[in-house]
């Protein structure tokens, strides 16, 4: 649901409120302040730059993507730099979000595949879900770990002649497995953030969510924000 219809008037107090997080603005709650959104989209930009320049090197199935950048030679040059930028922006995002992503005892449930299936079947609603649910936190840490794995193996693939053969072979395999898992996870990340859970994409674009959205997806966070216990990272 787009909140465009109920967008508040440009009031200086409201504009100020929108710059902080976890505060109520009219019918909406500010979920991601501008810095958060900018960091997230910077990571996404470099992720896709690295992905689309890397896929044509990976398999000729995606060879056509090389034309987006001007050929495979450009990809060979661009991909490592885009990957490096992805890692650096991921590092910034990691530090930025770490405080809010601390795992709580009930987040451990998410380590079981059954919990994920239940979540995808919209079952087993947990009234104790804070600002981020266990799945989001796990994705956060998995993405950070994946980025580290991609960086370390990527450096070896970038300068293959500097490393012994066995290291090169391992690096190629690690780079491959990590990126395949990463892409599968990102496909679901995008799906859940757009089509599957309407209103979520808006929170990453304009920063705000509607109250019913917050009560449905993050009930404890909703209660905390409305109860005035605003946390500012």
């Amino acid at each position: 649901m787009s909140a465009t219809a109920s967008r508040p008037p440009a009031d200086s107090a409201i504009l100020r409120a929108r710059r902080s997080e976890d505060v109520v603005v009219g019918d909406e709650i500010v979920r991601h302040r501008l810095a958060t959104r900018a960091i997230h989209w910077t990571v996404a930009l470099f992720f896709f730059l690295a992905l689309f320049s890397g896929l044509p090197i990976w398999t000729p199935v995606f060879g056509w993507m090389a034309h987006l950048f001007g050929g495979l030679n450009v990809c060979r040059w661009l991909h490592p730099w885009a990957g490096l930028a992805f890692f650096v922006s991921m590092l910034v995002m990691f530090v930025h979000w770490l405080g809010e992503m601390r795992l709580e005892p009930n987040d451990r449930e998410w380590l079981r595949p059954r919990k994920m299936i239940e979540y995808m079947r919209y079952q087993g609603e947990d009234p104790d879900v804070g600002k981020y649910n266990g799945g989001q936190k796990l994705f956060f840490f998995a993405a950070a770990l994946g980025a580290l794995g991609l960086l370390l193996s990527g450096v070896v693939v970038w300068f293959p002649l500097e490393f012994p053969r066995i290291v090169r072979e391992l690096a190629i395999l690690i780079h491959d497995v990590t990126f395949i898992l990463f892409v599968v996870a990102v496909v679901f990340h995008i799906y859940l953030g757009t089509a599957a859970e309407p209103g979520t994409f808006h929170s990453m674009i304009r920063g705000t969510v509607r109250k019913p959205w917050a009560r449905l997806h993050h009930p404890r966070w909703y209660r905390e924000v409305l109860g005035g216990k605003t946390r500012r990272p």
């Binding site: 990976w58 995808m120 009234p127 072979e169 190629i172 959205w213």
Partner: protein
């Protein structure tokens, strides 16, 4: 070095349709007899001249070897080794260059379509215009042959003088050899010549003489007669060269699995949306009041 008159049997990073061969050509091979090589290095010079390479500075390491390793501008290297044997000393000289494997690891590892090709006659060649200089071929090669040329940003190696061979000439190194220890012809002929020479050597006191044509890479387009086949390390040759397992696994298992996984994830998301639909708050208006999450309609 692209040969335009030769049909292509295999092409790197080509799922299928890489082969263009209408005619089957006999597979060609070099024949190297290390027992009659005198280390004159005429082949090195001929290679440099014909391929317009170098000059490359020699790097002495205390032997008669021109430089320690093959170089992007030095594709033919006589490896020199001195070994104590049977109470005396033997001088071993082996001509090192691309082995033109029947099952080339470089071609398997290469990600750039058409950058490495294998012609119908078995010659394995780098196409500089398609090469992206990533160096994967060096990881795929069990003989450590392809070298990165910093100036062009491409990989370079022996072409088996494909431009001469397609015109019916023998490679430059063969042409220059003064002792006849280098020969060129069909693979079948060269293997037969090799076995005959090995028998001759065995009859003359070289009990461990072998013809080096490793089956792990499907045989090579360079067959080498070695007087001391029980000591391949004396010649700097691997005992059982194969396309590295990592490269094989990556190309034939991980890559297809990954493509299926990525498309599968997209199809799965679409399927989920069609079956389950979006998770939305109830559409009834009004300010929610309680802390309990609203129930979501389920299918």
């Amino acid at each position: 070095m692209a040969a335009h008159n030769l049909e292509i049997r295999r092409s790197s990073a080509s799922l299928w349709g890489g082969a263009t061969g209408m005619r089957q050509l006999p597979v060609v091979s070099k024949f190297i007899d290390t027992t009659t090589c005198i280390g004159c290095k005429a082949c090195e010079v001929a290679c440099q001249e014909w391929n317009d390479l170098g000059p490359v500075s020699t790097r002495q390491t205390g032997t008669y070897q021109t430089m320690p390793e093959l170089d992007p501008e030095f594709w033919n290297l006589i490896r020199f080794n001195e070994q104590e044997f049977d109470g005396g000393v033997v001088w071993l000289m082996r001509k090192d260059q691309c082995m033109h494997c029947e099952d080339p690891g470089c071609l398997a590892a290469c990600p750039a379509p058409g950058a490495i090709v294998q012609y119908e006659n078995g010659i394995v060649d780098v196409n500089p215009e398609a090469c992206i200089g990533c160096g994967f071929c060096a990881t795929g090669c069990p003989f450590d042959v392809p070298k990165f040329h910093a100036k062009t940003g491409k990989m370079a190696k022996c072409t088996l003088c494909v431009d001469r061979v397609e015109s019916g000439l023998e490679p430059a190194c063969i042409k220059a050899c003064p002792t006849g220890c280098l020969q060129f012809g069909t693979k079948d002929d060269m293997v037969a010549m090799g076995h005959a020479r090995v028998e001759q050597l065995k009859a003359n006191g070289f009990a461990n003489a072998v013809l080096y044509d490793p089956p792990g890479v499907g045989g090579t387009g360079v067959v080498t007669v070695l007087g001391h086949g029980d000591h391949l390390e004396w010649y700097g040759l691997p005992r059982d060269p194969r396309v590295p397992l990592g490269v094989r696994f990556w190309k034939s298992v991980l890559r297809p699995l990954g493509v299926v996984a990525i498309f599968g994830a997209v199809v799965g998301a679409i399927g989920h949306f069609m079956y389950q639909g979006p998770k939305e708050p109830p559409q009834t208006g009004g300010e929610p009041t309680g802390g309990e999450p609203p129930r979501t309609p389920r299918p």
